[in-house]
Subunit: 226 residues, 2 copies
DNA sequence: CGCGTTTTTGAACCGTATCAATACGTGTGG
DNA sequence: CCACACGTATTGATACGGTTCAAAAACGCG
């Protein structure tokens, strides 16, 4: 779509920052920048993963989208690669990625990307670093989800939006109750219930999609204990 | 411990197979082979992860070992690296690894390992490949655990031992009921119950730790549906 | 303003954890 | 060789949390 110049891009990943000017020229030739509106699908599960997707700006949900077991795995914020494990571990995407806000994404040629891994150790190392951190995050996520009960998991999700996404205690949820439940591994009904319960206890204030955290310490405790 | 010669090692990883003779000499100088008996700890959670662990032979469990939330994440079979994400994503191990059988492990110097990533693109690429596949496995694992109920998860575990570990329909469980429950995210009581239930339905035969799968198709269905 | 969607709330039902008691198996010491 | 003790496994009864179903309320949009 839009013509862009990788060399001058301000949103380079840690890995891309290791590339020489010449390499960046190579990257650019197989690079397509695309914009997405909320709800639009960035990566489609079961489609061939022929490109590396780099989320330059915006917010998106990573979700497994089988008809029978739709599940939001996590919410990702730019800048980040999305779907690298599918790119390398499997020929088809193992999950979908859908924009929650306006998103700007660069689709990079997989062959060129691989070439950099082979030829630029610094680049490869940074990719490994990003993948490692991601896997550890997933690891803890998974553990939490299986050991806490609903209240704790919803508290987790709220804290996640606070700390990792918006970095301030008042924000507007980018997702519906349905999706919040889905993210926390429960139903929309329970997501609703827990939210109002936390509201009634004075731990958060909630009105529609607007959330304000009133008692962070207590919320943290709920997230940890149960 | 034992003196070994990496060059002549028959258990090389895909990544290590890309190394030149000279590089293998380098690997060897910072390599310690150690043997573990069942129950012995190979990697200890919260210890500094100063070495890359390569499981050359044997079976081990990867588990989160906090006093309050002990949880078996997965069972791994040689040959495989264990703990790479901790090596690169964090200075301390994010989980423990404990031997279930006699295990032979090579501890490699992390600095040398990093050097190979920087200098040998083929090596780096193979590491990325292994990490990608691992992450996808975890991904599906995590998804399954959160969407199935106990019967399905135990069925999963049994099928896992059949297909991924022993590759034959009759085998001896390498873990106790307690750990089986822990692996499937439930209690020892429920693990027991489900096992005898499957036995009574003629789907598996079970006697102590000896398991035989009698009706694979049905077991598969249970694993998928519920 | 009306219609469809999303959210909230209540009640009944189901699955699983928990508790409690019993059985089994192995190893120890008399 | 038996008696005992300890860890592991089994089985049943109960309680709690969460899903599901149903219905009302609030919201957003044309």
């Amino acid at each position: 779509m839009g013509k862009i110049i990788c060399k001058q891009c301000d949103f380079k990943s840690a890995a891309a920052r290791t590339l020489s000017e010449m390499e960046l020229d190579g990257l650019e030739s197989g690079c397509a920048k695309t914009n997405f509106k909320p709800g639009e699908i960035i990566i489609k599960q079961n489609a061939l993963s022929t490109n590396v997707a780099y989320l330059k700006s915006g917010l998106a949900k990573v979700h497994f989208s089988d008809p029978m077991k739709e599940r939001i795995m996590r919410i990702v914020k730019a800048p980040t690669y999305v779907g690298l494990p599918s790119n390398f571990g499997n020929k088809v995407n193992q999950f979908s990625v859908t924009a929650l806000e306006n998103c700007s994404v660069c689709f990079l040629d997989l062959a060129a990307f691989k070439k950099f891994i082979f030829e630029n150790g610094d680049f490869a190392y940074n990719i490994i670093l990003e993948m490692s951190k991601n896997e550890l995050k997933n690891f803890h996520n998974c553990l939490n989800n299986s050991q806490k009960q609903t209240t704790g998991r919803i508290a987790d999700a709220v804290l996640f939006f606070y700390k990792e996404i918006y970095e301030r205690p008042a924000f507007t949820l980018p997702i519906s109750r349905h999706d919040l439940g889905n993210l926390a591994g429960t139903t929309r009904e329970n997501a609703s219930r827990v939210l109002t319960q936390l509201h009634n206890e004075g731990i958060i204030r909630i009105s529609g999609k607007k959330v304000a955290i009133l008692n962070e310490k207590l919320l943290q405790q709920i997230s940890e204990k149960g």
